[in-house]
Subunit: 401 residues, 2 copies
Amino acid sequence: MVKINENFLKLEKNYLFINIAKKVNAFKAANPDAALIRMGIGDVTLPLAPVVVEAMKKGADEMGVKETFKGYEDSGAGYDFLKNAIADYYKSFGADVSADEIRVNDGAKSDCGNIVDIFGDDNVVLITDPAYPVYVDSNRMSGRKVIFADSNEENGFAAMPDDSVHADLIYLCSPNNPTGSVYTKEQLAEWVAYAKRHESIIIFDAAYEAFITDPALPRSIFQIEGAKECAIEMCSLSKTAGFTGVRCGYTVVPEALKVKASDGTEVSIAQLWGRRQGTKFNGVSYPVQCGAAAVFTEEGQKQIKENIRYYQENAKIIAETMESLGIKYTGGVNSPYIWFKCPDGMGSWEFFDKMLAEIAVVGTPGEGFGKNGDGWFRLTAFGDRDNTIEAMRRFKEMLSK
Amino acid sequence: MVKINENFLKLEKNYLFINIAKKVNAFKAANPDAALIRMGIGDVTLPLAPVVVEAMKKGADEMGVKETFKGYEDSGAGYDFLKNAIADYYKSFGADVSADEIRVNDGAKSDCGNIVDIFGDDNVVLITDPAYPVYVDSNRMSGRKVIFADSNEENGFAAMPDDSVHADLIYLCSPNNPTGSVYTKEQLAEWVAYAKRHESIIIFDAAYEAFITDPALPRSIFQIEGAKECAIEMCSLSKTAGFTGVRCGYTVVPEALKVKASDGTEVSIAQLWGRRQGTKFNGVSYPVQCGAAAVFTEEGQKQIKENIRYYQENAKIIAETMESLGIKYTGGVNSPYIWFKCPDGMGSWEFFDKMLAEIAVVGTPGEGFGKNGDGWFRLTAFGDRDNTIEAMRRFKEMLSK
């Protein structure tokens, strides 16, 4: 008789955003005329930059002509034109990443979930709490032991390593989803030092790096000395260039990252990952890769930075609202997220229900990201300007009643 | 210390097609002027159908306008417009599949590799030999026991079930890669009956269904009564519509497919798979889905069928060459593959080397697909017409020496 993977039965029944969608749908059914404003799921709202659209169309046209048609990509790791552009982008902020260390993917979520395939199920996994649910779920699906490092009000929602706790795999996200906090170079250096002492690997999620405006803050873990011997980095064009519906990201596995197998053989993590992807993935759509490469051109950077500035201005509007109401928050600068403390000691789902019912604004309850999220709440700056202003007007009104 | 998944160390070091690429590159370096003809990797050569290109470009344009921009897809399982089109396509040849049972993906290889995540590692996996290497590798990566059902000259390279051997998961591919053999409805019904007796699940790879011309042959396992209670089907637009570089496929998990967990709970396989994909996948690029939907329009079907006929004519040319030389083969009709017995009792890699060295034609050694492939060889009909004719001219010349 076929046996299912019973680890699945131990997972939360539904994914956070599906629960939110259900509550929102019920509200809409009961209040068909309510002017709902969505600041929950971290999805972008501005259209793709014109250079990206043109590049995708050109890529599609090439696919319609025999001489320029592209079938399977030889390596499945991404075309050189895109990997070289990404490597140059890394160099622009001081991270030395070579094109050969990059694998292009259909979005960071896939690699973030799939990377665990190359590691044994007996590793201890450390995840900061609160965190993006994929880190926890993808490890629990393989039955791995997950432990948590607390990110909380006391440490500014930036958990730091503790040598009395051993971990083999460590998930870090900076700028952080959901808390908007950003690790300094010194803080990341402490994590790198911990990973070296414990012979662990850091999986670094840099999906929000493009929102960093402070040049002193690291945009890649590879700006930290020694990180190439102990870290994998995942990044995405979803938030950088509005690719949430286009689907393209990239993972950097440094050549220097090696691990000893139980028989003492030295194993290249990049080779393992290449073997995994070579077996279970066949590369990213050619027109999508053309669009992604356009992001890294001079004109592309100009166009996407305009969009990022638009979202940063939204973040500022939300942060100023929190300031004016005396509500504690993190994020809002160097991040598209604002993470605030629910007023009057409310629980985070309780506050979610209140906001939805009273002002028809959808946010994300902090509890959905882990226990330290209880009593906290996430709003995103990825909305429309007018909606963001209107939502904050209603928010102020609700809390001044 | 971080532990790797040591199952990876037990895999063949390199993927079949990487080994071939290495030999071909070495040949090219030594013979820069040789007119190489590639009939090895099953990649298409005709450009995308015009309706597909136009639909992708229209999709890209929509992404550049705020009002029609698409971000994350709610379900990540594919837009209704595409799932409905696929469901209608199934109905057109008599398989009753509803849109809700379909999940769209970035190519059948991904789902084929990832589906194993939802099954326990203690399942016994039965794979026909020879077979597409992804079935074996993706299961060995999780440490599952893999057993083989022999497809050989005696049974026309169409392995049949044997009740004295128990299997929990069964991989079938029809029309078969690499042998080109096609199961009849009666043969598939025997496999369905076996799966029901053994409470196993069949993973049915229908990637080559569009090449079936004989209306009596099943294009989907769901044309067989009872299959919805014991089978998952994977299909792809790669070979149907030349999507090898566009990346789009679909997996059907019937609602009726349920399994008992160890505590007796009945578990829906579609729900497990949805939970897996919801965690580790974020949907297919919107412009790609637009292009895929165009394949299923009336004009789209007309255009892609022209391309399929072109490849079918190539297959006929190759098959006739084998006939004329008295070489035993399977496939060539209802399939883009021709699977033939190497002349003079040669081994398959030996024949590969001979063809490359003497006539600069690249094929795929049967041994790369399993032990029953030794002494057999695969050629694909996906090449250019002129190249196919020229390759067969050289092939005849080589063997008449």
